[in-house]
């Protein structure tokens, strides 16, 4: 029997409730004893705060509230704490926390992972947590030895006393637990770091190499039904007819449930649910969107870019500068919607039992989910338990609440645990894309070849509005639509950069590096165009404009030196450059590219230099930069979500190709030594990749690539 679940509010309404949970930057941890997490804290555990537990066997367990999606937080969070604790790294293990405000990401004020913020957010709080524990252990040892704590020191999970007497932390558990928790313990000077700043192997082995690692899609709850959904092909499309009898006739199908986002078929296994969903053959009332296509997207973005008037940057007198310029150039750039295409298709297992809600899911936003799902299930946040499993890729997609909301609604309606699984085709078409965007540029150079004017009008949808927890400010500028462009590093005296909002319809969301993902392509390409207009070398042209951006300048210069920029390359190979700052880190990339006669570009090598301030795990940093380059390469070469007749045209990896091992260039990452505070690292490697490649393509062919993915037809026989 069909069981429609009516809700009074739209999904957007659900998301707005989450705003109530944003409490702003949380205070450094108060003196508090840890709440029960995975392992309950008993009297045999020293747990002066939510993150650290030391047991009599001298082992240290660190509780991590961040979601692990390959970016290495399950290793980095313990490193932050273990350093100040002076723990023996070999005795340190990590466990995933439950959802609890104790594990709020200090950068967000909620328990969530994203924005390359985990290290930046936890840098002081986690170091403080470790230092607290260390001081309490020292105080306990001092009392025991009847000496002053200043005569003691710590090393590798031991207190070292006069005469070299060694007391393991484990022997001090009970005594340390009785000590007062210091509010402001002394933190190490970075020059004394023993654990941080050293390449360190991940703690999540061997599970990931022996098949025991559990991702969301591996969850199993006895009695669960598996759900596959027929989702609206376009937001606000409504189901107008379906063949329930045919769906029910599929062996294994148990229920058909309609919820706001579509119709679910619940069965005793994935295949039956999938077949049942296909047999259901839902026909959709597409409303005004029946003829929606990518051409409509482009024309709406064009219009918004042309009339953009929410001013983000207003400097000098661009009109006069244009009028008096020796040379003006203009160009129009465009990028499409992009899917995240995580390797693990979206999924969520939910069990609503009365007023209790339990989830098993890979999610980046446990904190917001708790509030949203309490609302959805008509429960209280305290009764929403989230078991955070490993994420088979996140990239921002798993920050969205859609799949957790749907699983929860389905479980509530079905009265049993429900495992919602997206087929790859469902995942591809499910929206929450990186926004499409169009930019109209004008630039001017004077007779000395200096850049005198830059004007840009950006047309794109608003992620702030789509997020459900942010609002476009009074001035109308969606900061994410212009980040990387409005805050570019070049000292150009006359500028006007404005945003024009367009909402063609597809749901947009955060995608790895967000607005920087398209805006670095835009500005780094146009700066290259201005260099060409000034008949200047692209590197020299940029360096001359980076007088107010020393960290951009430094990474760019070093990358050029390391890549051998300006030195001879193999026949047909050229260099293209780009530099971008995002999420607190500065990355320069120099791509060595050749273009074949059939127009296919080949990226042979990428030389990257990153200034991310002080480092926690340089091994992770190198992997993240390389991984981000790979992600950017997929987008530059292939990525495109397009629409025809109201539907997404792409479905699987044959028509939404991604970079394979055969595409991957050699990547050389150099981390700039720095004593600055840490910047983020998950995302900053992506923005410079596309422009570095397309700038190289210009050098090789004389063809300026102004839209992505790269059109190889235009490059045929041009190299």
């Amino acid at each position: 029997m069909d069981m429609p679940v009516q809700t009074n509010k739209s999904r957007r309404g659900f998301l707005k409730t989450q705003a109530a949970l944003v409490v702003g930057f949380s205070l450094p941890l108060a003196a508090r004893r840890a709440e029960a997490a995975i392992d309950p804290v008993d009297s045999n555990t020293f747990a002066p705060n939510a993150w650290v537990r030391i047991t009599p066997d001298n082992r240290v367990s660190v509780v991590c509230g961040s979601a692990e999606m390959g970016q290495g937080v399950l290793t980095a969070i313990p490193m932050l704490l273990a350093e100040e604790l002076d723990a023996d790294w070999k005795l340190v293990s990590v466990q995933q926390s439950p959802v609890d405000t104790a594990y709020n990401n200090p950068a967000f004020g909620m328990q969530a992972t994203g924005g390359s913020s985990t290290i930046r957010g936890h840098w002081t709080p986690l170091r403080t947590a470790g230092a607290q524990a260390r001081e309490m252990l020292l105080a306990a040892a001092a009392a025991q030895l009847n000496v002053d704590a200043s005569t003691l020191r710590t090393e590798k999970s031991h207190v070292i006393g006069p005469g070299g007497k060694k007391i393991p932390y484990g022997a001090l558990v009970e005594a340390a637990s009785k000590q007062p928790v210091p509010e402001k313990p002394a933190l190490k000077s970075p020059k004394d770091f023993k654990i941080m700043g050293k390449p360190t192997n991940r703690l999540d082995t061997p599970a990931k190499i022996n098949g025991t690692a559990k991702f969301g899609i591996d969850a199993h709850v006895d009695g669960m039904l598996v759900a596959v959904m027929a989702r609206a092909p376009f937001p606000d499309a409504k189901p107008k007819s379906m063949d329930e009898a045919k769906a029910k006739a599929v062996k294994g199908v148990q229920k058909i449930i309609t919820i706001p986002s579509g119709v679910a078929v619940l069965a005793d296994g994935y295949w039956a649910a999938r077949k049942g969903r296909d047999a259901l053959a839902v026909q959709w009332d597409m409303g005004p969107h029946a003829d929606f296509d990518s051409a409509k997207v482009t024309s709406q973005l064009e219009e918004a870019a042309s009339s953009a008037n929410a001013v983000a940057v207003d400097k000098g007198n661009p009109k006069d500068a244009a009028a008096n310029a020796t040379q003006t150039i203009s160009a129009r750039y465009e990028v499409p919607y992009l899917a995240h295409a995580c390797m693990e298709p979206l999924n969520c297992t939910a069990w609503v039992k009365g007023d209790e809600v339990t989830l098993w899911v890979g999610t980046q936003s446990q904190g917001p989910a708790q509030g949203i799902l309490a609302h959805v299930a008509e429960a209280t946040p305290a009764k929403v338990k989230i078991n955070t499993l490993l994420l088979g890729g996140g990239f921002g997609r798993r920050f969205a609440p859609d799949f957790t909301i749907d699983a929860t609604l389905l479980s509530k309606a079905a009265g049993s645990p429900v495992k919602l699984i997206y087929a790859r085709e469902d995942d591809m078409a499910a929206g929450y894309y990186r926004p499409a965007s169009v930019v109209r540029f004008e630039g001017a150079v004077d007779d000395k070849g200096a850049a005198t004017m830059l004007r840009a009008g950006v047309g794109s949808p608003s992620i702030m509005a789509a997020s459900g927890f942010m609002k476009i400010p009074e001035n109308g500028v969606d900061s994410m639509a212009v980040e990387g462009l409005a805050d570019h590093p070049y000292a150009i005296p006359n500028q006007r950069i404005a945003y024009g909002r367009a909402e063609p319809g597809p749901q947009v969301w955060f995608w790895r590096s967000v607005g920087h993902s398209q805006n670095a392509f835009f500005i780094e390409s146009f700066i290259d165009e201005m260099a060409a207009a000034a008949k200047a070398d692209p590197l020299q042209f940029r360096l001359a404009l980076l007088s107010e951006a020393p960290r951009h300048k430094a990474v760019l210069e070093l990358a050029a030196a390391r890549a051998g920029y300006g030195k001879p390359l193999p026949k047909g190979h050229v260099h293209g450059i780009a530099v971008a700052e995002s999420f607190g880190s500065y990355v320069a990339e120099i791509a060595e590219v050749s273009v074949a006669a059939d127009g296919t570009p080949k990226v042979h090598k990428v030389t990257a230099v990153v200034d991310c301030g002080m480092t926690v795990n340089p091994q992770t940093i190198a992997r993240q930069i390389e991984g981000a380059i790979c992600y950017g390469l997929s987008a530059a070469l292939y990525g495109r979500i397009s629409y025809k007749d109201g539907r997404v045209e792409q479905s699987n990896f044959h028509d939404y190709p991604v970079a394979r091992m055969t595409d991957m260039p050699k990547v050389d990452v150099h981390i700039m030594p720095s004593s600055e505070n840490p910047g983020g690292i998950g995302e900053p490697g992506t923005p410079p990749l596309a422009p570095a490649v397309t700038n190289a393509i210009f050098k090789a062919t004389g063809v300026r690539i102004r839209s992505l993915p790269i059109d190889t037809e235009a490059l045929k026989k041009k190299a």
């Binding site: 022996n210 029910k248 062996k251 390797m343 088979g392 790859r424 699987n652 991957m664």
Partner: protein
């Protein structure tokens, strides 16, 4: 050297397998759009078969709907979730297992086709006390990030090194008669069926190279 006439069939590259897979995917999508012929509600249930699968040295007797993929048989029926589902259309390689020593995309084959077959999944490669050399190499070279593609990468690499040992050429082999060497191009071509969205490709390649090199030396 090609050992058996049937080996010529296996000499098709991964790329050709993918193109075949994409044709299946296109067909499948088309099926979903058009209404398939209706099956009367009182028709007999779809045929099922009872088969025996040897998985990681253990014998399993399963009665399955004939249309169950080997991947779903492993994950849903045997609860061996180490083998992953990424695309269900042979595009990504996350579901790679070893079937009688050969690597296959388990999503592209039906369980009932393999009655009596010997299967090795990631759970059966090595033991906690003695990791398979490739597992150890993946750890040593940090050959993963999120870890979702990893079981498929490792199983695929095991199968790939077997193919190399058997002298099976690839799409990039310049001389089909010569014993193939694991050059950079060969390694990448032979592993191109395994997608890694985290971009750990260079570390994966280093891990495989190390084991291959050790094999050459031993």
């Amino acid at each position: 050297m090609l050992a058996h006439p049937f080996d010529t069939i296996l000499a098709i590259s991964r790329r050709e397998l993918l193109i075949a897979g994409s044709a299946c995917a296109a067909a499948a999508t088309a099926d979903a759009q058009s209404a398939p012929a209706p099956r009367p509600a009182d028709a007999p249930p779809p045929p099922a078969s009872t088969i025996t699968l040897q998985v990681n040295g253990q014998s399993h007797r399963l009665t399955l709907d004939n249309r169950t993929s080997l991947l779903d048989a492993l994950r849903e029926h045997l609860h061996l979730t180490g083998t992953k589902k990424g695309c269900d259309h042979g595009q990504c390689g996350a579901c790679t297992v070893l079937l009688d020593g050969r690597r296959v995309n388990s999503c592209l084959t039906l369980a009932v086709m393999h009655d009596g077959a010997q299967l090795t999944t990631i759970e059966g490669l090595g033991t906690p006390a003695r990791l398979h050399p490739l597992q150890a190499a993946f750890i040593a070279h940090d050959g993963y990030q999120c870890g979702y593609c990893t079981p498929g990468q490792i199983c695929s690499a095991v199968g790939m090194l077997n193919e190399l040992r058997q002298g099976i050429p690839s799409h990039v082999s310049t001389d089909l008669q010569a014993r193939p060497q694991l050059t950079n191009d060969e390694l990448r071509e032979r592993m191109s069926g395994n997608i890694c969205r985290c971009g750990a490709y260079s570390n994966i390649a280093e891990a495989i190279s190390e084991v291959a090199g050790a094999e050459v030396r031993s």
